[in-house]
Amino acid sequence: MKHKLLLTITFICFAVITSDAQEKMISGNLTSVEDGAPVPGVNVVVKGTAIGTVSDLEGNYSIRVPSGESILVYSYIGLITEEILVGSQSVIDLSMKPDLQQLSEVVVVAYGTQTRQALTGAVGVVDEKAIKNQQIISVGRALQGTTPGVNVIAETGQPGENPTIRIRGVSSVNASSDPLIVLDGVVFNGNLNSVSPGEIESINVLKDAAASALYGSRAANGVLLITTKSGTRSGEVNIDFNASFGISDRAIPEYEFLNAEEYMQLAWEALKFKGEDIGNPNPGQYATENLIDNLKYNPYGVDDPIDPNGNLVSGASLLWETDWEKELTRKQALRQDYSLSFTGGNDKTQYFVYGGYINQEGQIITSKFERINTRLNLESKVKDWLRIGTRSAFSYSNQNFPNQESDSFANNVQYIRSMSNIYPVYKRDEDGSRILDDNGAPEFDFGERQLGRTVNVNRPVFQPSNLVATTYLNDVQRQRYYTNLNAYADITFLKDFSLKSNISYELFLFDRFDYDNPDNGDGENVQGRVQRRKNITNAWTWYNQLTYHKSFGQHDVNASFITETYNYKYEYLNAQKTGFPFNGLKEFNAGASLENISGYTNQHRMFSLLGRASYNYAGRYYAEFAVRGDESSKFSPENRRGTFTSFGASWVLSNENFFAGVTPVSLLKLRGSYGELGNNKILDSDDREVYFPYISSFETGYDDLDNSGVFFNYLANSTISWEKVNTLNIALDFGLFGDRLTGSVEWYDKRTTGMLFDRPLTRSVGYPSVQENNGDLKNTGVEILLNSVNVQNDRFRWNTGFNISFEKNEIMKLSQDEIIIGSKRLKVGSSIYEFYIREWAGVDPEDGAAMWYMDETDEDGNVIGRTTTKNYDRADRYDLGSSLPKVRWGFSSSIDFAGFDFSFLIAASHGGKVLDYDYAGLMHGYSNMGYQLSRDILDRWQKTGDVTNVPRLNTSNSDVSQRSSNYLVDNSYVRLRNVTLGYTLSPDLLHNSGVFRSLRVFVQADNYWTWSNNKGLDPEVNIEGTTDNRSSMFKTLSFGLNLGF
């Protein structure tokens, strides 16, 4: 302690001495070059330090600078940033020039960069700040609410899973609708969760043809350009350390369930009705006698706990009641996030070095995601004519992924929604007392039968299983190793020419490890099982870009020609062994017998030629033409070539002379583009990519003992080729009041033609569907973006951002009149996610039966009206709305005041529908005896005359829970994505310490508030609007620290 104190004092003294030796005071006055008026609120900062001040209302400032070599940076929104070397001056006055439209802002685009003004296409930008303000693991989440036209749906609460991202609607039915991801200029083949938000400079969303044409046959769904951070030329190094710590819990509480007593009483009621239905003269007695036999468990421990009148017998009390949600989920999941980065360099060499670690627990017990990231970005000008650089990264992640989707026994979420409270976690004997093992510990109850017993055994729900036991004892690990090496050389030769050669190599190893313990559950019969899957993705891309750039007079010409070669290889290896008698020994050597071994290789190659030419006259007229020719190994040699072209133009009206006098308008730019893009990502029914869609094939591996077997499982269409998307985009960009208010309005019309489409065959022909390039789809929409600087002065800064998108999806052409797939119907004129299901007509007050609507027809089959039916099979189906939202918007605001910063982001979606199967499953009304029920079942019909929407309880297999409008709900929601409150220590104070450049502490809440009509259902479901017992989104409260050295 003493030592520490001494050290600190020495430190402070040293700092004071050094400043005394060299510091000097600079003051001055800042005016506008246009009218000579003082400019208040200009940031004046000593470059490379945290020392800074702001000009006052008269435009005056004064600042203490460390030395004569210091450089002062003057910046203000809407004005050109100036840098002045202090030298011997002590007074520096400046007239600041307007930076109309901030022309100098550079935007990353396909194969290069462009100034913002030169853009002719639709590019959405999510910058570092927007990314930093969200506690996310997968960078895809950063797009939610921050960019118009981008739909982001989380789908699952498992940390480390990537959200579904759709750019400008959904342009395909059976091909992939995922956007192409490009990391530092090269198509990314890893898992997006391998990239840390902390290493990202920006994510640019290329939305139209002009912006994404250079990605040709892979760009139809839009492109995400992710750019990692670079070094600086400042000659100094910034060291940044960030740490945050958080606690997470479900954003939306679980559906409310019946308690054990209610469950027993209602089960009795259901059985009483059964007794009535089968003509038992004393149905109450029948129900009392059959209750425990149906439920198998008796949490009361007394015989026939519900009497023939449906009341709990006196003296009976619950021996147990299980809250399965509590048993299987975490209420306080922890999150830790640390990163350290070095950003520096000089005129010759720049570097960015990054290291990060994140650890987030998930909603389900044992669920977790842990990741380590490292990155080195380095660029150096080694010769006058040669710049070389590398961008390289390695990332490792380890995810424990207990089942939380699908209808497997092992799905924890389904388990919670299936096991009613009357089933115990631990074994109970016939009387309901706990059974203890030899050590006196309770034993997990797997609900198995047990010889000689009939009560508290043989659970009708998920027998034999106990996820509380097996989720802890089993492993579901997913490890990912991702290496990305990207090296380039930029050669300047001749006059006006340069050549960039870039080679990128990716190695992605996915290692999945599943262990079923030998003592309980799936592994019990085989003495334990280990399944190991190793998938290796190997990909390289080599491109050479020849660029010509020349300016003469008012003209500026830029042309690029590019060749690109792409090779992708995916190797799959799976092995499975059983016989691991020693609980805990999980390597294959410890296993006795081989259960499965399989493997295959997928390969995809492309060769492409690209060209781009752009022209600009006097900063007023811009035109750009881009073309990409692709050849892909996915299609037959006759169909493998595709050419994709686009044209874009813009006119900056505000740079015209006739606009010079219109003062409130600082920018007015009209732009438009038209072009064609392709989609070659054909998916099979399991959403796996198909690599040879043009070859019919027999799958191997259907062996009958030792006899090799093949099975015909792919009926190909030999003429299959790219799906094409033509987009027309028209937009207006504007800036008002010295760019205090900026924004854009965009309109687009996106048409998919030759849609890659699974045309269903008749089921009875024995093969489900064939792929065709058939059908047209249209996505249209309007996107509005508004950003404003509401207040800006030396103490207070307040910005807001708002964006809204309206989208419409319409099928224009199909190979047949209509195609019904599950709950959806495809039909010309409606959307691709249009629900076509039976319409619930309520409950008949007479008998409590569920009713649905059916058409009434005349003799010629014409529909003349409709009536209700109690027979689900006879009910008709109707178009009842689409899962696609009509409007989505995001609103954000940030306030900086006296060192405090406060910001929030709201994301919202309106008009989409969800068919909530999970809820339907909870309304089975005892047709699934023993399965959990929603509290809404309490409103059930009980006697003639009851008017309710919940039918009479019924233990027979009934259609009550079947797909119908009763479970179709409006999924509009508004979600507070995050709120952050931070405090930055004043630079003066920090400077005096001599150690820190900056210090900020913050508290942040993510997803803390959600408005939605629906209980239990997290609104971030999936794009098709169906539920599948997935875990739901988290809300996270975190505290953190940003330290700069």
């Binding site: 089968i278 030769f493 019969n525 290789t601 191997t700 099975f711 008749t762 024995g766 489900p768």
Partner: protein, 483 residues
């Protein structure tokens, strides 16, 4: 220096261009799939397809598009069999997998049971059609062509015979009733759905296919595995079809031909009924520890002494039909205590689960052929009908006494013997109720709620056409649906 740089640039551009024309794009080839021309280039290729078809019948089945199957009670042939087993009057599953079938609540058009049966069998028929067409277009010898085609046609007939009996009443009820669509060409891009046709149309195909099969299959019956349909299995299938159609003479002859070379062997009853090498088994599916359906196996449902679903109980009235000395009397009472009025009072140990799940699955046994022969002879009033029956009875029970029944009494006795001999296997009890157009009357210790008394040819006995078929077939509309 400048020249050097320019050379470097030229070289780079040259190399990068050459990638486009070096066969670079032709190199990737499928690694786990083979093209039709490879399959039909050799008889071994076609055999591999047959092996694939048989394996597919017994795997954790799900359709190519994942729309049907994929659940424990829709795993291929076992699911098809068990569904029928529990729909009858002898076995009981009030809760657990197949309980909705036991309760006769599982026939609606949107249920997975219905689409499973439909898609599973039509998928199999299509695979057979692929072979039939591929072989016809191959350059194999005429002899091999006929043999391979014969086996494929037998598979096709088997699939249709199962389909028509699930989606319509028996042939004898009304041969002109709506049938099921029939396809003799493999699915292609141009395929369109066919109409239901009549029951007769379907049986015409079944009969023609099986006739072709028994004429052209290798008379020696040689085969790689008992899963393969050889001439004996084909005769057995023909015997079943003829019995269904009431063609007694043909049924009798086919049954005799089917068991040629096989013999009664009661040892299976003491051995867990899970070994394919038993002499009695004419047709069955083997499993191995790496090729099983785990808890989907029949034994998982029947065997109460192992970890499994343990869900099937035996009706007391059925248990009462067995004498003490009958080897098939494999019933245990009171395993879960209770008394004979409790549905859980009796279980059977006929099916036992092997430790590694590698239980073999029975599809056709010699005993059934004896019973077909006996029933056909009884119908034909042949005097030795009772002797044939007794040959089986005395093999099963050393103390068996010949009943001496004739006429209808003998037929009734044979039908009871079919239940006793074949219970739990492929659902003959329930299928006989349909075939013989009997009432389905549950007695004894069935739970009160499921003590049904359905009239003959009840709607409950047929599945509805799947909604997905109606949605995808222009020639079958809502009006063609089963009642």
């Amino acid at each position: 220096m400048k020249a050097y740089i320019n050379k470097l640039v030229q070289l780079l551009l040259l190399v990068s261009f050459s990638m486009g024309c070096s066969g670079f794009l032709d190199e990737p080839k499928p690694t786990t799939a083979v093209a039709p021309q490879d399959v039909f280039s050799s008889e071994d290729g076609v055999r591999a397809h047959f092996h694939g078809i048989y394996r597919n019948l017994r795997r954790q089945w799900k359709s190519v598009d994942g729309q049907s199957g994929g659940k424990t009670d829709t795993w291929g042939i076992v699911a098809l069999n068990l569904t029928r087993v529990v729909k009858g009057i002898d076995m009981m599953v009030p809760s657990g997998w197949y309980d909705w079938d036991y309760r006769h609540e599982n026939r609606s058009s949107s249920y997975r049971r219905v689409s499973f049966v439909w898609d599973f069998l039509y998928e199999t028929a299509n695979q057979a059609n692929i072979i039939i067409k591929g072989v016809a277009e191959s350059d194999f010898s005429e002899g091999s062509k006929n043999q391979l085609t014969a086996e494929a046609k037998a598979i096709r007939a088997w699939a249709h015979f199962n389909l028509i009996r699930e989606f319509q009443h028996t042939y004898g009820a009304d041969p002109n009733a709506p049938g099921i669509p029939v396809y003799t060409e493999p699915a292609s891009i141009e395929s369109v759905g066919n109409a239901r046709g009549t029951v007769q149309d379907v049986y015409d195909l079944i009969t023609a296919d099986l006739d072709f099969a028994v004429k052209n299959l290798d008379p020696s019956g040689t085969r790689a595995l008992k899963s393969n349909i050889n001439i004996h299995v084909a005769h057995g299938l023909l015997a079943r079809a003829m019995l269904e159609m009431g063609q007694w003479e043909a049924a009798k002859n086919a049954a005799l031909a089917a068991r040629d070379g096989y013999s009664l062997d009661a040892s299976g009853y003491s051995d867990g009924f899970n070994k394919i090498d038993n002499d009695e088994w004419i047709w069955g599916f083997p499993q191995r520890n790496d090729q099983t359906i785990y808890y989907g196996n029949p034994a998982s449902h029947f065997d109460h002494y192992i970890l499994g679903y343990n869900s099937v109980f035996v009706n007391g009235d059925f248990v009462g039909l067995f004498s003490d000395s009958d080897v098939r009397n494999l019933f245990v009472a009171g395993l879960y205590k209770g008394d004979s009025s409790d549905y859980y009072y009796y279980v059977t140990t006929k099916f036992q689960q092997r430790e590694d799940f590698a239980d073999d699955i029975v599809m056709m046994r010699v005993a059934e052929m004896y019973l077909i022969e006996a029933e056909a002879k009884a119908e034909l009033n042949e005097p030795d009908a009772g002797d044939v029956l007794f040959e089986l009875q005395s093999n099963r029970d050393p103390n068996a006494v010949k009943s001496g029944n004739t006429g209808q009494a003998l037929i009734d006795e044979i039908l009871v013997e079919r239940r006793k001999e074949l219970y739990g296997e492929i659902g003959i009890g329930f299928m006989d109720i349909k075939r013989r157009q009997q009432r389905l009357t549950r007695t004894g210790n069935h739970p009160e709620a499921f003590k049904f008394d359905f009239p003959a040819n009840s709607d409950e006995f047929i599945l509805m056409i799947p909604q997905s078929e109606i949605d995808s077939n222009d020639r079958i509309n809502q009006g063609d649906q089963n009642p």
